[in-house]
Symmetry: D2
Subunit: 345 residues, 4 copies
């Protein structure tokens, strides 16, 4: 257990994106952590608060060049918010220098390097640490996270989907090979780099599906659900993400064939019991709305049985519970703090 | 064939809602129609352009009390945009007085009065005309519409879903009893009456599902699809609508199990052939975006095969192709005009 | 100075509006305050978190009927978020029972009961406490607030405008009788009651001015600015508010004729010096954007001299710095805590 | 007068931007014009409807390289939607080849080449045609436009501002050297090239002022207003544009000191009289809202007198009345058609 009187110094690598910004917002108010150092390749010397003016007067550190020794010398923990492909060049080395790392990229999420190579079109270059990395979904893997040197923070869509399906998968209540996940996401999920698709006049008052059946979060969902369901399980997810005109928020509407007759009421009870010890999962008979989760670390769930299909509805803030909020929750677990430290409301 | 030199006089009953407004916009620029008379119970005497200021200088008629004789005396055609339940008190009588009616409510869409009673919680009070009413989806029932005295203009969601599924249903390519329709709609679909759900600060930056498996457009979809597929077909649709924060637009993402192996390319060809004669259905390999259909009468479709599931994507403007645009298209058919009259671009 | 080990119990009267909700969000994370009691006339018995689902798992108190004794017995502080006209029936009585009150309505903001009567179309019924009430703008009146029994929390527009103009008014740098304030506000400022104007399809993609020269915040601005400028000053503000389609945020663009030649640089320096001790006012050469203040208690200011006119730009979150954030800041002052307690970032 | 049976062939140069797209939408439904040819440097060979999918099935021409002879051989009219600086390389040459040109750039709007050089940071390279160009605001200069070979289509902000102020300027009712124009614009006005400022997550729920007193539309407004007011007039406009989160729409709120006592009613009458013959200017006692002008060619105006200041409110669709709609209105004038041809509603 850490000493609350002495906040832990942490580094944030790649702080100029949206997840970096949200991480800094959360850490600034965290009672037990202090941002010591932020890095940016492109904006070296610039104050991070000039890049994210919302942080002015909150965190006014200058961005520095990435220097592994400097981080290892000054910080016990490091968040890495680099793009995938780049992250695996860095995280392993930090771990070897004694820094505990929470990686927000996809690089350490898929245990199997072949699966990584297949979906990310490049071979994995840090297989050693890939093997030891812990999938950082606190509601499911808290004990492992607490001990981990390297945590692979989950993707935004997988967080919504896995939390939604875990109780059913663990109870063997559904046919795991015929799951449809129709997810809708706000546009901050696409990152901070401008492009025509996300130019305001293009996506305002617009709505579309993209990469149906081909999104890289598919194998992540399948792997984790198979792990929950047990070794023999074959999980097949048809995942179709959509873009909706709002800044932050994911709603996943999930359709799965039941293996036995169930009622909405029983399943709601089952979900409530399953998440009784999880302060950031709220189960309710009311269908969730993303706005109730915006700027929070909550994932809101509800369930409906319609005929022989179960529908699960899952809402969260993609930048918080879908990224930086869970990252801080993981930090809390690794520090032996209450999961909610610095994260309420 | 009507004489283009002499525009037809038409009446609009219940012109104060959004579909009424859009109807008036379209009719104002229609080369062969002239709005003669608009009615409103609540706003008698008020200029319709004071209720819908967008119409100022375009259509400045005063709202009058509904008077069947006055309509029958002056108009050959009447659009009825009353709420369901009220519409069936009026439309039959107009038809009997020789007015051809296009009804935008749900009252004449379900051929079976029992089905109507079950889903609309009231018994149908105009069974005679219910029997003769033609379902007004021009792409499928043009010949019947052309001759009809009473046209039941389709619902917004059924228009999106039925146009998306008709080629597959007619070709017996899918299991019709396991269709999932995950639809997302802009908020004008909820009508013009204020409520907390659709108060701007509540639905801005928000997103939610509603009435999963219970929406009244379900039987409408099932009935029409069964009609297309042939008498023996059992159609079961799991329809889940969602609210997205934009004014106008529906995107339906549809999942159906294939009965035989198909490719995306073949299905795209099949769709293109099926809609070759339909000027308002655009089939493309690109996934549709609602904004490309906004303020138009187009329905944009695309298809993807993923494993043994076919995905159909269908986008339209719920107020136009999903309501008033199709209503004008029906008028064109009834007048023997080109379907596109007054509706391009 | 309060004992940080023992949080203060506070009551929130009229918690079902947006300012009530935001107040509860802030208080839930405040290290030195605890919400003991929330009242609602309309929703007695309902959990406040069923009215504001964002609060589920955060504050799940049931709404109780307003009972002055119950509040006085259990709470040292009370926030009153009732509509104006109602608030003055309550606040004085609470004060007399020993409760220190922060009133978010307009009832105690105008020192002069005649001015109140003129602008609010009713006579003031608590003149005694009106006289003692302190105008709760912490940046200007901290010492008085710290001692106050009754604090009149400022209006959202006056907060933006007065913080923007105070340095100029105090320095006698502008003609105070020819100020133009063109303010733009998000829609949460209009409250939580649905109406046609703020029905999503009406105000989405829309923009308009309202009550030009007639808004009730005009006398509030004029009174406070006159107080800052000194007794002889005649302040005349032409205030024109506008509605813009976003949930939260005010941007005030202010035009004032300079009394002497000034430069942008000098005025920026003057502003920085003026607000050096104010943790929630950020002065910058960059023009402020409301999004940088959203979900924060900051007011961002910038200045430009164009010819003989000075332009001041002022941005804040109308629900936080424009209402509930300032209310908590006042609580902090009244408790002898740092102004920033519970309010960062 | 042209023969309505034979539509005029027109070319659109630089059709890939938003004004190009809107021009094509309007021309597609114009009864007397036919788009013969569209050019794009960057997208040669691509269908214009693949760049603007809203045009699929409406205008499916391939983009061709700019070739002055080809245009002169096939088109009597040409719209030029190139960026300023580029436009003046082309338009003069087209005019000399006998093509009548409507230029949507800023290149021919400022009669004085020195003023152009000062505000656009480059010297004007087509002074000859600059001299002959007619400022294309149809409500003010219809007769000149009808005869023109080269029309300089006005800027979006100047259209809103000049229509708002013309009656007052002509009547010498205001001090022309102390006008404040606080304008708010939707984001399509910034064009179709992506940038961080207009990346959806940056400008959604945001609001800011830019270039206060420095925007290039300032001299355009001043020049035209001086022309209306008469030779001796000194016009000084303090113009402050703002970005608001909507796609299309400008609202200008204008403050001007009256030279004599006036009433709101008298000024409304004056405005109505002034614009009695202008089908696209709607004067109303109601304050205008941009949404009532969206997708139309209307400019909506209202007026208020507050003390010795007159406020004028002006709303329009920046892409239509503020650009392409006025361009088509100019085409109509040049063809001797009714101004409203193809532009209603």
């Amino acid at each position: 257990m850490s000493n609350p009187a002495q906040p832990i110094d942490v580094a944030v690598i790649g702080a100029t994106g949206y997840t970096g910004r949200e991480l800094l917002r959360l850490l600034a108010r965290h009672p037990n952590a202090r941002v010591k150092l932020v890095t940016s390749r492109q904006h070296q010397g610039t104050l991070i608060s000039d890049i994210h003016p919302v942080l002015r007067g909150v965190i006014d550190l200058p961005c520095v060049q990435l220097d592994l020794s400097a981080i290892a010398d000054s910080c016990a923990f490091c968040f890495c918010a680099l793009p995938h492909g780049t992250s695996m060049e860095i995280c392993g080395q930090l771990v070897e220098r004694g820094v505990r790392v929470i990686d927000l990229s996809a690089d350490y999420r898929l245990r199997d390097p072949n699966l990584y190579a297949e979906w990310y079109n490049r071979s994995h270059r840090d297989a050693a640490h890939l093997k030891e990395a812990v999938y950082g979904l606190p509601e499911l893997f808290a004990a492992d996270i607490a001990r981990a040197r390297l945590v692979a923070n989950p993707g935004c869509y997988p967080t919504a989907a896995v939390l939604a399906l875990a109780p059913l998968a663990e109870a063997s209540a559904i046919h795991l090979d015929r799951i449809v996940i129709d997810a809708k996401s706000g546009i901050s999920g696409a990152g901070r780099s401008p492009s025509l698709d996300f130019h305001f006049p293009e996506c305002d008052e617009n709505l579309w599906a993209y990469k149906p059946g081909e999104h890289r979060h598919t194998p992540e969902m399948q792997t984790v659900l198979a792990q929950i369901a047990g070794d023999e399980a074959t999980v097949r997810v048809l995942f179709v993400p959509h873009i909706v005109p709002l800044e932050r928020g994911i709603l996943a509407t999930i359709y799965a064939p039941l293996r036995r007759r169930e009622t909405t009421e029983d399943l709601l009870d089952m979900y409530s019991a399953y998440y009784a010890g999880s302060p950031f999962v709220r189960v309710s008979p009311d269908l969730p709305r993303v706005k109730n989760t915006a700027y929070t670390n909550f994932c809101d769930l509800s369930v409906r049985v319609v005929g022989d299909t179960v529908l699960v509805f899952s809402a969260l803030d993609n930048l918080l519970k879908g990224a930086s909020g869970t990252a801080v929750q993981n930090l809390n677990l690794m520090l032996g703090l209450p999961e909610t430290a610095g994260l309420l409301p």
